[in-house]
């Protein structure tokens, strides 16, 4: 039986790990390579790096981080943040990323998703959707949550599936950094709409939130940052908890 995945996410800035609360107030908390290794040794099913300020700054540091990490971690590594072009994707894959997540560029030009999935295969193309609720719908945000495009998140999710995305990483902007749990309504709507796996993100504060993301949000995988990063729970504890709730996990 296919297991639900737990994916710790490390926000990386200038080659160092940080975690933003609602994308601001950054705190430096460690070396990404060592952190990733701790997670993979602890049973993480996948590691995610998000280069958070990549849109604005020199991002060559992330390539070194990816190179070093892929020599030490033998679980899948997903890298996102500031990915603009097919060349960017190619460079990250060559450095050892297994999947690349595309956010702003996918919104601006769906062709990047079409071309990169054709060139490298859908299996390594993740589209990251940052969505925020506005009355009765969710709107897609870009540029690390700074720009509202007004695009309907559910329609966009379907369009990305049709464009060749292999997975969707869905982050609720309303919940990110709040520790109040995923936006289950958003997750379940997107999960039931597409036939590709979805990853729930944004808002995890305790282990029941992970359970809800899978059971109620129908996510194939759950992503979390701060609960693991600041040692509130280990990946192992999270897995054991999910297992106790009847969710299939790799232990």
């Amino acid at each position: 039986m296919l297991k639900n995945r737990i994916i710790p996410c490390l926000d990386v800035k200038n080659g160092r790990v940080v975690k933003g609360i609602n994308f601001v107030d950054l705190q430096d908390a460690g070396d990404p390579v060592e952190q990733a290794k701790i997670y993979s040794d602890g049973g993480a099913d996948e590691i995610c790096f998000l280069d958070i300020t990549a849109s604005n700054e020199n991002r060559d540091t992330i390539y070194e981080v990816v190179k070093d990490t892929s020599k030490k971690c033998f679980v899948p590594l997903t890298v996102g943040g500031g990915v603009r072009t097919v060349e960017d994707i190619s460079k990250l894959l060559n450095c050892g990323a297994d999947k690349v997540s595309i956010n702003t560029a996918a919104v601006q030009n769906a062709n990047v998703v079409v071309q990169s999935s054709k060139k490298f295969g859908s299996q390594c193309i993740v589209v990251a959707i940052d969505a925020k609720k506005n009355e009765d719908k969710w709107e897609v945000f870009t540029h690390g949550g700074r720009n509202n495009t007004g695009i309907d998140a559910l329609e966009f999710a379907k369009k990305m599936e049709d464009s060749g995305a292999g997975e969707l990483l869905v982050t609720s902007m309303d919940r990110d950094g709040t520790q109040q749990g995923y936006d289950i309504d958003l997750m379940s709507k997107i999960s039931s709409m597409v036939n590709i796996p979805t990853i729930a993100s944004g808002g995890v504060g305790d282990l029941d939130h992970l359970v809800d993301g899978i059971k109620l949000g129908n996510a194939s995988a759950v992503l979390a940052a701060s609960i693991f990063h600041y040692g509130k729970y280990s990946v192992k504890e999270a897995k054991e908890y999910l297992d106790s709730k009847g969710i299939p996990v790799r232990i």
Binding site: M1, K3, R5, F74, L93, D98, Q123, G166
Partner: protein, 208 residues
């Protein structure tokens, strides 16, 4: 010993390279090349593959003499070869991703899309799944039945002769996830991404 990882523009092979280097440190020579002479004198060959069946076959065919050299290595000289993911799929006679494409024809069968039972199962089949070991295999030495491996694929190899199947995995149906015919080995899952247990498979292959 020389192990060659065939580099034929099949997409991302850095993880495969890293995993072989991790397993063997500096004990053996690992080449990453499409150079025909290097392949010929290798003791073992690894055939990775990502992307579509057609793009991988096109990649092999784009290098003059590569398919002949691989045939000579694996079929005539019967030296150990490991195909990973689409690398395994290419053993088939035909693949049906994008368009019907002729494969290497080393193990009779076809590669077709996994039946998602009208959307009941998500595709790609991504994540960790248990392997049911069907037959003793050199590459499964020390690997417990029902171990978890990392998968990412939407197509499956359906061999004609079921005797070549060494392991399956359960998803929407029983999916063939490892095959073996004499000296030719293949895994649909990614041992290079399957943590310590996956590295053990790589180690087993090197030790054959």
């Amino acid at each position: 010993m020389n192990v060659t990882i065939v580099d034929y523009n099949s997409g991302n092979i850095s993880s495969v390279i890293n995993s072989f280097k991790e397993v063997e440190k500096d004990k053996i020579k690992i080449e990453v090349t499409s150079n025909l002479e290097t392949i010929k004198i290798s003791d073992k060959v690894v055939l990775p593959g990502q992307g579509s069946f057609k793009s991988c076959i096109d990649g092999l065919n784009s290098i003059n003499g590569l398919v002949d050299t691989l045939n000579e290595f694996a079929i005539e000289h019967k030296k150990p070869l490991l195909g990973i993911c689409v690398g395994l799929q290419m053993f088939a006679d035909f693949g049906y991703e994008e368009v019907k494409t002729k494969g290497l024809g080393w193990i009779s069968g076809k590669v077709s899309k996994i039946d998602n039972q009208d959307g009941k199962f998500k595709l790609p089949h991504i994540g960790w799944n248990e392997i049911n070991i069907k037959k003793n295999s050199e590459i499964f030495k020390g690997i417990e039945n029902n171990s978890h491996m990392y998968f990412v694929h939407s197509y499956e190899f359906v061999p004609e002769d079921k005797a070549v199947i060494t392991a399956t995995t359960d998803y929407s149906s029983n999916i063939v996830c490892a095959v073996e015919r004499e000296n030719v080995f293949g895994t649909q899952f990614h041992p290079e991404k399957s943590d310590k247990i996956g590295l053990k498979i790589i180690d087993n292959f090197i030790k054959i």
